[in-house]
Symmetry: C2
Subunit: 410 residues, 2 copies
């Protein structure tokens, strides 16, 4: 069999383990030199590839440096938010495949979320149409955990561990004064509340703060929210609440739209900020107590010190599994996670393949049954689901400067 080359790219927003998936793909590819020749990385995803920017992993990250990808946040290869045209008749497709041919590409890997799986879908459909034998495989990543046909996604476990640990620390910080206060923690998640739900894991004992968890899966009622806080003061003068950035009222109006401006990103998604700030001001005005809002912001997806060892291991496995599947001839698939339970009832994860066309452009919300009837908390089912995903912590090499040492392109 003639050797072909492999190319891998990253797309969409980074996660703490998107580079672990990259490591899994590259390490596995390098382990099959009889079938896979060069192992290329496209810089800034498919958009950068169209512009001709790429690297060779054997040169860029020789030896041990490759494994440093596993604790390096951001997207090592750079990313893009480029959407391929809907019509496969568009001239960009023959252009792309001409480039693939010039580089003797046999395997194309794309690590990303929803929108990236759309790219995998289109490229694999176009490949079939022109009878190209290029294998196109998607590697999942998203802190939002909203991909369908997978138990969970790489990136979620680490983001959830960051959110839970940080909320636990914020609760201690917010509890030092014996004076009524409300702390609102705003957590990422436009439409799916998986990450906000992880705030509930921060409780050190039943009945601990954060007292309330508000997800975008249910309608948010500001009056009920204020009434619940008033009631909570009878238990603890310091009340901590976790809210998703995407909470909305029963008419579907985002709470952040009540008083702030919004924009639209290049995929047409509404860009949200500020429901925490809005609720902070509402509490101050209506309840007359001290209030603070904290936006956890990008550290949710780029904190290295709270990477979940389970998440990291699974991201590497997914990368590796995808390469083995492609070598067997699979294409147009996304690597997916299936949850199993061993004979002792312990969590186990198995990689499987799913048709990428069934995954792109769909979103998986937190099940309604996992949200309490009052819409202000999650049930034990969520704890059982999420706890295995945040287990284990990793050791990070620290440099002479006392800071985490990462790999990067200069």
């Amino acid at each position: 069999m003639e050797k072909k080359n492999l190319i891998v790219g990253q797309s969409g927003g980074p996660t703490a383990v998107i580079n672990s998936s990259l490591y899994g793909v590259v390490r596995e590819a390098l382990a099959h030199p009889d079938q896979i020749g060069q192992v290329y990385g496209m810089i800034n995803g498919i958009e950068g590839f169209l512009g001709g920017t790429m690297l060779d992993f054997r040169e860029a990250l020789p030896g041990e440096k490759l494994s440093w990808l596993k604790h390096t946040p951001g997207a090592y290869l750079g990313s893009c938010r480029y959407k391929l045209p809907e019509s496969l008749e568009d001239p960009v497709y023959p252009l792309l495949f001409k480039k693939f041919q010039e580089l003797n590409i046999g395997w194309f890997f794309y690590i990303g979320g929803n929108d990236s799986m759309d790219t995998v879908s289109k490229l694999s459909r176009y490949a079939a149409q022109i009878h190209s034998d290029i294998r196109v495989i998607g590697e999942p990543k998203t802190i939002d955990n909203d991909l369908v046909h997978t138990d969970h996604t790489p990136g979620y476990g680490s983001a959830a561990k960051y959110v839970a640990s940080t909320v636990r620390e914020i609760v201690l910080d917010a509890s030092v004064y014996e004076k009524k206060s409300v702390t609102i923690v705003e957590i990422m998640g436009r439409h799916a509340g998986w990450l906000t739900a992880a705030g509930a894991l921060a409780r050190k004992y039943p009945g601990d703060n954060p007292f309330f968890i508000y997800l975008p899966e249910t309608a948010f009622d500001p009056e009920d929210f204020l009434a619940k806080i008033e009631q909570a003061f009878s238990k603890n003068c310091n009340v901590v609440v976790c809210v998703s950035e995407g909470i909305h009222d029963e008419k579907g109006t985002f709470i952040c739209e009540y008083d702030s401006s919004v924009g639209v990103d290049s995929f047409g998604h509404k860009m949200l900020t500020g429901c925490g700030k809005y609720l902070e001001n509402l509490v101050k005005k209506r309840l007359g107590v001290k209030a603070r809002s904290i936006e956890l912001n990008v550290s949710q997806r780029c904190s290295s010190s709270l990477i979940s060892a389970t998440d990291q291991k699974e991201a590497v496995l997914a990368g590796s599994y995808g390469v083995l599947a492609a070598l067997k001839g699979e294409t147009g698939k996304m690597v997916s996670f299936k949850r199993n339970t061993d004979s002792q009832g312990n969590y186990q994860m198995e990689c499987v393949l799913e048709d990428v066309n069934a995954i792109c452009n769909a979103e998986k919300p937190v099940p309604a049954a996992w949200i309490t009837p009052d819409g202000a908390d999650v049930t034990e089912d969520f704890f059982a689901y999420a706890l295995p995903l945040i287990q284990g912590s990793i050791d990070i090499p620290f440099g002479e400067d006392g800071l985490p040492a990462f790999v990067y392109r200069k």
Copy 2:
């Protein structure tokens, strides 16, 4: 000698190692059972003590649990922002000393910043006035690092390590797209820029992001800021800037006041938020590029996973040193840090005592010579000063829930 009891309290905002100082005081106190009887903690500082709330450390944190204080953020004993009256003729003083007498207190320890040292000053002066033999000792803590007559303060090293590590991660996260962007990181510090300066430590190599560091020690010129960013785009399309929450223009007007409302805390300090948001909007409007602002918020003072081992060790030492000093009869003093250099030129720290009256109500800014002439960066002198303080990381016990395990009062 008749045995006396020791009482210790915490005051002001917490730091990641304020409980390490507490551990140092309590462990040392328990090691002298011939001189020190009970070891009490006042709950919610002097204000809580006046209300009668306290605990006994032998009961509250027996055995190994005491050492968990070293990685537990927040203030274990709770805190307060209570300022003792200026006049020592106020009836609160005899009331306090009557309570001390009832509890047979011989040693009073207070862990805090500027305002807490004011309490230590007043109590020690009142004790002298009434010829009480109670020893009153201050243990320094502040992430702001703005106490005078000490090389640095416990809490700063860990906050600086958190800021530097997090900015390094943010730089990776902010560099994934090949599209002009400005990321503004807003860092705590009203009047002193020590913590914001730590953002410069995030650079992985000379000339790396964050490109600009703006401290409150110099006047901030928005036009010059915009011009500098435009120039920086020629080097890198992704520009990261660190700004102190307290930056102001040459007239002294805080940048955050340009468009947001401000309040005043119980000590009469202006409460600031939002210069990052203001600059984000300014960049969007004037430069027409993507901009984001990130407020690091309370994690700067309560992140356990990025505690500096050096800072933690020194906080414990300061607590211990204060007890030994009090046993020798010292009073009205704050434990202070003196920097030494060993024969190999390595950093070493020595505890000394300073008159608390010379410390309270004064602030130490970053020296003007450590700021570059253009006011947009710090010099090598700052690096030499700060790097030893962020060295070493600590291991935190993780519970069965996969999260950091802390001690707390329920």
